[in-house]
């Protein structure tokens, strides 16, 4: 299911869910999306990175909700259209807060270009490619990479050692 950068560029018929974070538009493969829900009450998670918003009860299942805007350093709009996208990442399900859900798009291969190489941008390593359309551009996100949790684990460890010191 996981299409890397090359797959996204060549695989033209894949569908994406387009959403907004702040003023910017992003998209993730539709196959990764389980459902979209309104922002529910969350229970905060102590001792976790700041982009971990909390856990929610989704019909008896406890799911962690993260705020991509915090993670990518985007200023939130906090609009009334805020929603949580429940993503299926194989072994885990994760809720992602977005400012608004826009549409489902099926970009043609020629409208997708490779991401520009910008070493210093925080978010650039999670972007697989860029989809251009008449009104602007949409960044296609590699959601599995975004939440591989390796970086976060090390952050956690750093936190622990900081505590012990």
């Amino acid at each position: 299911m996981n299409k890397g950068a090359a797959g996204a560029v060549s695989g033209a018929s894949e569908r994406y869910l387009r959403f907004s974070l702040g003023e910017e538009e992003f998209a993730i493969p539709l196959l990764r999306v389980r459902e979209v829900i309104a922002v529910p009450d969350v229970t905060p998670i102590p001792q976790s990175p700041n982009y971990f918003l909390g856990v929610i009860n989704l019909r008896g299942q406890v799911i962690t909700v993260v705020d991509l805007r915090t993670k990518l350093g985007i200023k939130p709009l906090n609009s009334s259209e805020m929603a949580v996208v429940i993503c299926d990442l194989g072994s885990i399900s994760l809720g992602v807060v977005v400012d608004s859900i826009n549409s489902v798009v099926t970009p043609r291969a020629e409208d997708i270009s490779e991401r520009p190489e910008l070493k210093n941008q925080k978010a650039s390593e999670y972007i697989t490619s860029v989809y251009r359309h008449e009104k602007g551009m949409v960044l296609l996100l590699d959601i599995t990479r975004l939440f591989s949790f390796e970086d976060q684990n090390t952050a956690g460890r750093a936190n622990q050692t900081g505590k012990a010191a």
């Binding site: 009450d41 229970t43 905060p44 998670i45 102590p46 001792q47 976790s48 856990v55 929610i56 009860n57 008896g60 299942q61 406890v62 799911i63 962690t64 072994s91 885990i92 399900s93 994760l94 939440f147 949790f149 976060q152 684990n153 956690g156 460890r157 622990q160 900081g162 505590k163």
Partner: protein
């Protein structure tokens, strides 16, 4: 033979059929890749399990035969016997013989097996004289034929000539037979044995060579089932009532129905959860027999003490833990308990003791196997490991690491191979099986005093009683079993000491005080006298956990934390509370670990750092 024993044996036969079909697949893949050591390891384990279980339930003859088989396998494994097609055929025939035996025993538990033919052949193989092989069909046929005469279940063909029963059973075995050579010879016989059809049905029932996916089943007492059905009936009625009341104007009626429905739902939940749970009793009692028999073989006197037999465990977990337990118990008797003279010379009572207990601890099930034997000598293990070349001679290990060497595959501490143990297959299988269940095994040992093996298993489906506490705006669950007492500290009960941090004086006892808020990285909250101290004693060192308030006690369904939260060690899981919002379940032993009492200035610094970040 009493009913209980019969049940055990029937259970074993079912398991054995599965083991044998696994083994057959492995033999076949071995033929394809003779060099693959992992396949042989697997077969070896299967044979070892088979032998152990057969003996445990009292199938002495089958066990003895399996022992010979295992010894032969060891030769093959060590490369003393060439892995030729002929050898594989012999292995397959042995496997078939065992399968036929198991089928026969399923029909009649007192059936006597005629294993002499194959046994001689295997023993010859062990002595390294493989090659003078008996004609395969003859060996097989004869074994089965003599089998047949002892077995009331298989109808003997009346007035048939000498060859008829052989043919009949050979056809029966064909369902499992994979050796083409034999098959070819049998084809002719098959043609003349049309009456054999009813017999073929028996082996076909347990799968045949195409390994059937075993349908899992569970035995539930009709009493429980009836209760469930009754309650569900009540629920249906309440639902009807509710539908009527939707249109009524009286809210009290509706409230009452909702309340009743709540009660009924809880009951349904309790019963349905209990359907999967079975007490460890049966598995534990199986161990009595194992201890007795193992001790008899070794000429030792050992008592097994059982505790917590009523502890319930998810059936699938219990089944998978059964074999590892057998290994651990046998090891305790064989390696753990010293022989009588040695015990006497060390001033211990001649009779050894093995304690087997099960209990819940912080949402996990713990099975403990404790013996008062000689303990494990880490230094000796290390030396042996170096001798065997498992470790380089220069390796240096800590005491604990050395003790853990017993989990190394192919490592045995026994000087010689006994019938009971000492081939070095046991412990690595034990650990693999336990780890497959997401469990953990720990060893505590003291030379001369004895060893304790702790098998810690998660209870994924468990419902626990939890105490819901509040800290700031958040609620947390503490497993009720961990709560020793709760109290509101009075003025002067809490002291600050630079060396110890905050302590709570409780009836003359000094308990370290851990503020939950501080652990969670909050600013110091309200006054101590406004809070509640919860005394936790289940951990090694007792301590008091300071929370803002107690919300109540509830039944909690434990939900595992996802991988993204796995690093949060202080939480053992999450739960959905009455208002539908999730809360985290605290793990008090872990809390005690991370909140080693430190002086407040340091804590404040950390808090300041957190705030800044």
């Amino acid at each position: 033979m009493d009913d209980f024993e019969k049940e055990l044996r029937a259970g074993f036969l079912e398991e054995a059929a599965q083991l044998l079909s696994d083994a057959e697949q492995s033999f076949l893949s071995l033929e394809a890749n003779p060099g693959d050591a992992t396949i042989l390891d697997k077969i070896f384990r299967l044979a070892h399990n088979f032998k152990g279980s057969a003996k445990a339930v009292g199938f002495e003859q089958l066990g003895a035969f399996a022992h010979v088989f295992e010894s032969f396998l060891l030769k093959v494994k060590n490369g003393d016997v060439e892995r030729s097609t002929a050898v594989i055929s012999l292995l397959l025939r042995t496997n078939d013989f065992l399968t036929a035996s198991v089928t026969a025993l399923q029909g009649d538990m007192a059936a006597v097996l005629q294993d002499s033919e194959l046994r001689t052949e295997l023993e010859a193989g062990i002595r390294g004289e493989f090659g003078a092989t008996a004609e395969p069909v003859k060996g097989l046929g004869e074994a089965v034929a003599s089998f047949n005469s002892e077995n009331t279940d298989v109808p003997a063909t009346s007035g048939a000539d000498e060859e008829a029963p052989t043919a009949e059973d050979a056809v029966a075995l064909m369902a499992l037979e994979t050796d083409r050579r034999i098959q070819k010879e049998l084809d002719a016989i098959e043609a003349s044995a049309s009456e054999a059809v009813p017999v073929t049905a028996a082996p076909a029932a347990f799968g045949g060579p195409a390994k059937a996916v075993a349908e899992e089943s569970i035995r539930v007492s009709t009493h429980r089932l009836e209760r469930l059905i009754n309650i569900v009936g009540e629920m249906v009625i309440l639902q009807t009532v509710l539908r009527e009341q939707v249109y009524s104007t009286d809210p009290t009626l509706l409230r009452r129905t909702a309340h009743q429905l709540g009660k009924v739902t809880k009951e349904v939940q309790d019963i349905s959860m209990s359907l999967r749970m079975v007490p460890v009793k049966q598995t534990f009692q199986k161990m009595q027999r194992i201890v007795r028999d193992t001790a008899n073989v070794l000429g030792k006197k050992v008592h097994l003490h059982l505790q917590g037999e009523e502890t319930e465990l998810d059936k699938t977990v219990l089944e998978s833990i059964s074999d590892p337990l057998v290994h651990l118990i046998r090891n305790a008797v064989d390696h753990g308990i010293e022989n009588s003279e040695r015990r006497a010379s060390h001033g211990k009572p001649v009779e050894g003791n093995v304690h087997l207990s099960a209990f819940h601890e912080s949402g996990k099930l713990v099975i403990e196997i404790r013996d008062d034997g000689g303990g494990i000598d880490g230094a000796m293990l290390l030396r042996k490991a170096k001798e065997k070349g498992v470790l380089p001679a220069s390796a240096s290990l800590s005491e604990k690491e050395s003790v853990n060497l017993i989990f190394h595959p192919g490592f045995s501490t026994k000087q010689e191979v006994s019938e009971v143990s000492g081939r070095g297959v046991g412990m690595d299988v034990v650990r693999t099986n336990i780890e497959m269940l997401q469990g953990e095994i720990q060893i505590q040992t003291e030379v001369g005093k004895g060893s304790t093996f702790r098998v810690i298993l998660p209870l994924t489906l468990a419902i626990i009683d939890g105490m819901v506490v509040r800290c700031g705006e958040e609620r947390f669950v503490i497993p009720l079993a961990q709560v020793h007492e709760s109290m509101r500290p009075a003025v002067g009960d809490v002291h600050f000491n630079v060396g110890l941090g905050e302590v709570l004086l409780l009836r003359g006892e000094c308990l370290p005080l851990v503020r939950l808020g501080t652990v969670l990285g909050r600013k110091p909250q309200r006054e101590v006298t406004d809070s509640i101290a919860i005394v936790i004693r289940s951990t090694g060192k007792p301590y008091a956990l300071l929370v803002d308030d107690i919300v109540g006690q509830y039944q909690i369904v434990i939900k595992k934390l996802g991988a993204e939260l796995a690093r949060l060690k202080i939480f053992s899981g999450s739960a959905v509370l009455g208002d539908g919002r999730p809360a985290f379940i605290l793990d008090p032993p872990e809390l005690a670990k991370i909140s080693v009492p430190t002086a407040p200035p340091v804590r404040n610094k950390i808090i300041a750092e957190r705030m800044a970040s």
